[in-house]
Symmetry: C2
């Protein structure tokens, strides 16, 4: 592969998500050659994908060109490619554009949708882990509503206007809430021949409460908000099958729907090549020590979703969300600098900043330490935090403007079917 020769040690980073970027920011001014691999030329702000799916934001508001983040650094190189294999013995990686040697390898490849081996769900449901996924959901939702407006077949119409989401984690809850608001704000205005009651949003969850990782108080409040918006929540419900028309569940209840969104789980996006011990197979994540070094390897590190660091309070690793990724990236970057300057590495300590989810306008829940609160203030904090963490001044401004506009007008402006979604037959 065509990479400028240099005397500097080469750090190869796989993945331009929260972890990868946070790591590079720390070390970019140090004496390293940095090569970042990503299959996309942009960073995705995943917590807001659901707003792209529901026509509230455009993809460029939550994406940022990776090259631009580090554009002032001469030792930074970006490669838009897929990393296919790691060869730890030769210290090289195989990619879709050739092979490359590394001195240090940082695996920050994140996670992917977990279908738990269920082929029918994998083939027929709509996942939501990437920007194209979200655009597919946006198109399908709008196409189905247009089609429902045309048909006189009652059963077909009901299926087209029935939206079923599996998984009541933050993604599923936020998506369900946004769909319910779409129904309220848009459907009754733009589709006079569809009555509001005809559109149904069902949220299915295997656990006995929504937002299982959050406090019980927040779960209860979130459920209240969801039901207030008209979302029908089904707890203790596992999906068995989806044939493209009907979702079958463990309870025997069936849902006839043309739109089944799968937000029920993620699994590590592991890469071939590392030996058995390193990979926790059940989770597809790499076991790392407190310095994020992959078990059994010396110059290979894993960060964020793809890493399992067992520690007190986190026997199965940290939650697969943005904060551990950002903090691990930062700590590892600092450790690289420490070593460079003759100091010793510091072990990673996770600082739990809390968690939050928004259900709709003025409706959110926040857990910070032992503090739980909800409603308008929680919603306002949610907005502020998400704007703060968006990459780029332009993205923040455009998002802020769209949110203000949507808030005032009960509108979602991006309801455009630009690339119609073609159903798999």
């Amino acid at each position: 592969m065509n990479i400028l020769d240099t005397k500097l040690p080469r750090i190869v980073i796989i993945g331009g998500g929260f972890a990868g970027i946070s790591f590079i920011k720390q070390i970019q001014k140090e004496a390293f050659q940095i090569v970042l691999f990503d299959r996309n030329n942009y960073h995705t702000f995943q917590p807001l994908l659901y707003q792209v799916s529901t026509a509230g934001l455009e993809p460029d508001s939550i994406s940022y060109p990776l090259r631009k983040i580090f554009r002032n650094n001469k030792n930074f190189h970006f490669r838009m490619a897929e990393v296919e294999h790691i060869n730890p013995t030769t210290k090289t990686i195989e990619t879709s554009i050739g092979s490359l040697a590394y001195d240090h390898l940082i695996i920050a490849s994140g996670s992917t949708t977990n279908f738990f081996g269920n082929k029918s769900i994998e083939e027929k449901s709509m996942p939501m882990k990437t920007v194209p996924h979200s655009l597919n959901i946006r198109s399908l939702m709008l196409q189905n509503i247009e089609e429902a407006d045309l048909t006189t077949d009652v059963a077909k119409r009901r299926s087209l206007l029935n939206f079923v989401i599996a998984g009541a984690g933050p993604t599923g809850v936020e998506l369900a809430g946004a769909l319910a608001e779409f129904k309220r704000g848009i459907l009754e205005n733009d589709y006079p021949s569809i009555s509001e009651d005809e559109m149904q949003v069902h949220l299915l969850e295997g656990a006995d409460r929504v937002l299982p990782p959050m406090s019980k108080k927040s779960s209860t409040k979130a459920l209240y908000f969801l039901e207030k918006l008209g979302v029908q929540v089904h707890l203790n419900t596992f999906v068995k099958e989806y044939d493209g028309h009907t979702v079958s569940t463990n309870s025997g209840v069936q849902f006839h729907t043309a739109t089944f969104i799968w937000a029920a789980g993620v699994t590590g996006a592991s890469i071939q090549g590392l030996d058995g011990e390193a990979l926790v197979k059940r989770a597809n994540r790499y076991q790392v020590n407190e310095y994020n070094t992959v078990e059994g390897y010396k110059d290979i590190y894993a960060l964020g979703d793809i890493a399992i660091m067992k520690s007190e309070g986190y026997p199965n690793g940290h939650p697969m969300v943005a904060q551990p990724a950002i903090q691990q990236g930062k700590n590892l970057g600092k450790n690289f600098k420490r070593v460079l300057h003759g100091k010793s590495m510091k072990p990673f300590v996770y600082f739990d900043k809390g968690s939050m989810a928004t259900i709709g306008r003025n409706k959110a829940v926040v857990d910070i330490k032992n503090l739980n609160f909800s409603g308008f203030i929680a919603w306002f904090i949610w907005m502020f935090v998400h704007l703060w963490f968006l990459v780029g001044f332009r993205n923040r401004m455009v998002t802020f403007f769209n949110w203000t506009y949507n808030y005032i007008n009960y509108d979602k402006a991006a309801r455009l079917i630009i690339r119609p979604f073609k159903r798999k037959v």
Copy 2:
């Protein structure tokens, strides 16, 4: 087709472009049932498509949901479908979702890319008449630059960084200018291993000057601006063939390029069913009288690009741009109202508001009557007029913000390869 029964006379409009919307705005409060057909659920502001192609604006900034424009009108119905055939004897249309009777039919189907029967160009070049076309160009441009960054094959690298545009009308000129600015603002910052000189923009034009419909003074000035930005303009040059690698021209000069954009002509998007006399075959446009009635028919009208109204000063019909479409739509709408209130129709008189094109920052040309001017003031007027005609407050604000941001930062923020363009093999 499922349309509410009513005693009101039914007007069917084919196409939600400038003409169709301008017509409906006039008659929407009158006693008509209005049914609008469009294959997309959004109106496209075509004059700014080139900014989507060059990553300056996102598609939702120049598109607007058609349902939303007329959302307060109970007698307005939107159908996202393709109109396939007109049966004037039975006064019905055949569409992709069934047939429908009309009392009045308004054809406002616009125009489509004209390949002049050249199959190689049709198959291998990139047209730019729709939002998906523009997104394809954006992806391809960025993919080619990424690929060029990787290859050491000199010929391949040159071809990937060579951008060839056929047609120096406003579309071709604006696109060439924006590509040249992309090179200046983005390439040198984000792609340190590509030198600015390696990217070439060629603009090919069959006539002996750029912007042939404008004044000679503006053509000269536009050429000056283009060359100042580094665009290589080739006049009196006709494209003979493009095999996916090489553009062959009448002059014998060849261009090796992976990106050949075809902006050299449009033709009417006519619909099957109207008799021979009505359709001017050479142009695929319907011949209309001064009331926009299609030659030989009583209740069928054609507006905008699809209509040829011969008049003094316009022996081949009006130019196929926004203004005649908007004005004809307005005049026909007013005539419908006049007839409804017992008055007689007024013939259409075209008011030429002038024409303009922008080449780059602070660089535009404007012709108004016998007045021609260029430079910063022309550029400022161009921006103001385009913002003014954009549909929707949100679109205007987001576009204005993006322009300001891009102007200050020499940036184009939407350079995301969201759906990679797959070359036809």
